[in-house]
Amino acid sequence: MRKLHHFHGGVHPPSNKAQSTRTAIAHAPLPSRLAVPLHQHAGEAAKPIVQAGDRVLKGQLIGMPDGFVSSAVHAPTSGTISAIDMQLIAHPSGLPNLCATLIPDGREEWIARRSVDYREHSSAELQHLLRMAGVVGLGGAGFPSDIKLRIGKQKITTLILNGAECEPYISCDDMLMRERAVEIVQGAEILRYMLDADEVLIGVEDNKPEAIAALQQAITAGGSALQQNKRHEVVTIPTIYPGGGAKQLIRVITGLEVPSGKLPTDVGVQCFNVATAYTVYRALAHGEPLLSRVITITGNVRNAQNYEALIGTPITELAALAGTLPDTSGYIMGGPMMGFPLPALDVPMVKATNCIIAASEKLFPPPPLPMPCIRCTRCVDVCPADLQPQDLYWFAQSREFGRAQKFSLFDCIECGACSYVCPSHIPLVQYYRFAKSEIRAREHDKQLADQARVRHEFHEQRIEREKREKAEKLAAREKAAQTAKLAGTQSLTPQQQAAQTELEAGRAHIIELAKSEVEHVKE
């Protein structure tokens, strides 16, 4: 038995997962319309490469990755692109973003799929394939997986698969592990091969015994390929929120602490979600880009269940499948701790959408009005990042961003444990999010200002140089005229010489005038 470690703090909210794990993953029927956002991942948006009116096949590339941190976007089914325009998406801002609208033709005609034996390719080649298959982290952040596999000289000893799924209500990873453990383990082996890691540890919370058993069976069945010398192991970890945070999971399984401002790779560990491993396997072994994912529909519904749904499916159609109850007051995307209320119902699900919770007054009664902070430090006791939430709150609400940064605001993972225990019901995470985005905006402005300063200085130098060059040219011409005149005057009569001098004086006057004109224009 592996010795486990602890991270600081944590809370035990009611898990509410049982509702949605009673039935197997169902395939959501083909929706009437799909809206596929071109920016579903961290980094730069994909560039659309199809036009309205184009017929596309299932799996056809419709958005080309654009920039270093970017990922591809594909048509989730065959049909016709009806528009590429700005539409509301699932984002806390409620602002629209570029989406490709696809009307399915119901034929599900695939592009040519090519399966790849990963052992015949280098890590760099596989990274490119994953980028073009649109594989991003499915745990919630949507970070392009190829970037996480692009490690420099660091030696990765341990690959951790994150199957903790600590947030209440969500059960999509649990169901995926129960039903598709073999593919997950094979995906893990591909990731291990790409990172050249020594071992694969799959961390699963102890409230998912079926998933743990399924994974163990898959590893045993995988036989020699998985057990040769590289160890695959399922690690059962205690159920505590947020045990599924990457840094927290690494701490519990390996005892290593990822330092502030550093990445897990700096301590020789890399972490992927189990659903991401599954997608990696499908992308390479079956040549299927990321077109669908498992999503939990739960909360105030008749049949809470997990569905495998196409990216771009409108949330309304998914909610209708589970049977929303009449007193539903809104929808939350993600879990109750870290999720956000959806701005509208007809927004599409994206690669990072793991859960939709129908909310009602009964399930989520409105929080009581906040009271002033009494400095009880209960938030300090539960903070999994070892921060001082009450101080960060103080700095954020008084807009002292510099001091908030000194108190490691950016180590906050916005898990909401502090808000959960706050006896004054202060929306602490909202304050941290506000402070973080203000600091990011200021840093961005500063960068733009520095860029403008450099360009302005160059501009001034250029103007100066042009002026100098013009003056030099003028002086050279005058000098040449002078020498020519000297050579010419010796053979002239006195009358001719006098006429010449007069002419010269006039010319000099004109040049003077022209010069002052040039100065005038420059000013």
Partner: protein, 189 residues
């Protein structure tokens, strides 16, 4: 007596040499205070402060010739930053300076542009490309929104649309909520 004088003279010579050396070694080009002020200014280069750019304004503040409340693009926050840097009181915008505006970026109506190059000459950060009798366009990413190109345009084809809120620059808002105590106090009143 003599030895004492010699010792004092020797010490004076050595110290003098050290100071002289330090003066050369640690000599700083330009005005370090002006540079610090320049680092705080938004670098719009718009000239709304009545100086021909951010650097001259910074030099004028450093020399004590200009007030800290003459930079509209910096906003009140910019004034606060300058006040903190210089250890002086915050001073609100005067009536002679323009009011701060939301950030905008120049946009050339390319069908109207006659290719006169006047805006190219006016741009302080070389953010407009084009040539004589050829269409011009603004490199939006480099434009500081200074509006200096608007006035010289003979056909008025440059507008300054506000950048506005997009997903890319969206920020979480300051949490707005009443405090329970404030509420009850309100009720009792």
């Amino acid at each position: 007596m003599l030895s004492a004088l010699l010792v004092m003279a020797a010490i004076a010579t050595v110290l003098g040499a050290v100071l002289g050396f330090a003066a050369i070694k640690f000599h700083s080009e330009g005005n370090p205070l002006a540079e610090k002020i320049d680092a705080v200014l938004p670098q719009t280069q718009c000239g709304q402060c009545s100086y021909p750019g951010c650097k001259p304004y910074a030099a004028a503040i450093a020399a004590g010739e200009a007030d800290i409340n003459r930079c509209p693009p910096g906003g009140e926050e910019g004034i606060q930053k300058l006040a903190d840097l210089l250890g002086v009181e915050f001073k609100p915008f005067g009536s002679d300076t323009a009011a701060p505006k939301p950030k905008s970026v120049a946009l050339i109506d390319e069908s109207t542009c006659i290719g006169c190059t006047l805006c190219i000459q006016a741009c302080p950060v070389d953010a407009i490309v084009g040539a004589a009798k050829q269409m011009h366009t603004v490199i939006a990413a480099e434009c500081t929104g200074c509006e200096l190109c608007v006035a010289p345009c003979p056909v008025d084809c440059i507008s300054m649309p506000v950048i506005g809120e997009k997903i890319g620059n969206w920020k979480w808002k300051y949490p707005l909520h009443a405090f329970a105590v404030a509420e009850t106090a309100e009720a009792t009143r």
